[in-house]
């Protein structure tokens, strides 16, 4: 083994390096702006934003009505704006409807409120089975949905991105918005799980 040089990286890594160098040379991309964008999605934007939106909807009926009317604007009022946050729609779980979100073609996802999607959301099995066998998929996530509850599957696109408003867990009557937001997992806002129960938080 020769330790005198750094081994070349994978073809993928070389290709990204080459694309970036060429685009920087042409002045189309600024390396500092790339780093800043990466830092945003690695560290600053994530499902905690969505959890705050859900907790407010649980405690403020007027805000919830606004969310239903114009989710993009209501969410923007909390400071969550920007990329992939346009064309938002809220779908609310009730005791008779459970909503599930998928992107059947690629991985459209509401970045401003959930960050970037998890690995399984981008997988072919989820894309296909969420539509064909949603009940089974939910079971694999440990989520049992009663037979009398209708499951609605929403296909996110670049034109419309869905956020599930999970049901507020029982026995949380006097809870503050902040305390409630800890019950709202990312998966509950995709619809593969329910909100956490008070004893689970």
């Amino acid at each position: 083994m020769n330790d005198n040089h750094t081994s070349p990286p994978s073809e993928m890594e070389l290709k990204v390096k080459a694309l970036e160098s060429l685009l920087v040379e042409k002045g189309l991309v600024d390396p500092a702006a790339l780093d800043e964008l990466i830092d945003t999605y690695e560290n600053r934007v994530g499902p905690k934003n969505g959890a705050k939106v859900v907790a407010r909807a649980w405690t403020d009926p007027q805000f919830k009505a606004w969310l239903h009317e114009d989710a993009t604007a209501a969410i923007a009022s909390m400071g969550f704006t920007g990329r992939q946050g346009e064309h938002m729609k809220i779908v609310e779980n009730t005791n008779v409807i459970h909503n599930l979100v998928v992107c059947t073609l690629c991985s459209c996802y509401p970045w401003t409120v959930l960050g970037l999607p998890p690995v399984w959301y981008k997988s072919a099995p989820y894309r296909a089975r969420a539509v064909m066998a949603p009940r089974e998929v939910l079971k694999e996530f440990g989520t049992e949905i009663g037979k009398d509850v209708e499951i609605k599957v929403w296909d996110s696109t670049s034109e419309m991105r869905y956020l599930v408003l999970p049901e507020r867990p029982a026995d949380t009557k006097d809870w503050s918005e902040q305390k409630l937001s800890a019950l709202v997992s990312r998966n509950s806002m995709i619809g593969v799980e329910k909100a956490r129960l008070p004893e689970e938080s």
Binding site: V16, L22, E140
Partner: protein
């Protein structure tokens, strides 16, 4: 490990703590496409179409596509769209990749790799 969805941890709390990008190149491929769309060099719908096409092609070729190869599709879509729009030339990309390969090979182990122009 869930067999239906590799990469899924049953405890969603832990699942949320998984790194957003598995490797640095994924992050860069992601950021380049987003920045180019912000500059108006590609429309986002045009981008999702290109990405969906890569994913479909992979599926047609029998790739199980468990989500862990997602940024490979992303990168292929980026390359395809940049070449198609004549923003980059294939020959330039090839030679730039070769320059980076040589830069790695000529950098002493442990030092940061920098691109040196071979003229």
């Amino acid at each position: 490990m869930n067999t239906a969805f590799p990469g899924l941890l049953h405890d969603s709390g832990k699942d949320e703590q998984q790194p957003v990008f598995a490797e640095p190149w994924e992050a860069h491929a992601f950021a380049i496409a987003v920045k180019l769309s912000e500059k108006g060099l590609l429309k986002w719908s045009e981008w999702t179409d290109a990405l969906a096409e890569e994913i479909k092609e992979a599926k047609d070729q029998g790739n199980p596509d468990f989500g862990n190869t997602y940024y490979q599709f992303w990168l292929s879509a980026l390359e395809t769209i940049l070449l198609k729009k004549n923003i980059l030339k294939k020959s330039d990309l090839k030679s730039m990749m070769e320059q980076w390969r040589r830069a790695y090979l000529s950098t002493p182990h442990g030092n940061p790799v920098k691109l040196v122009k071979y003229k």
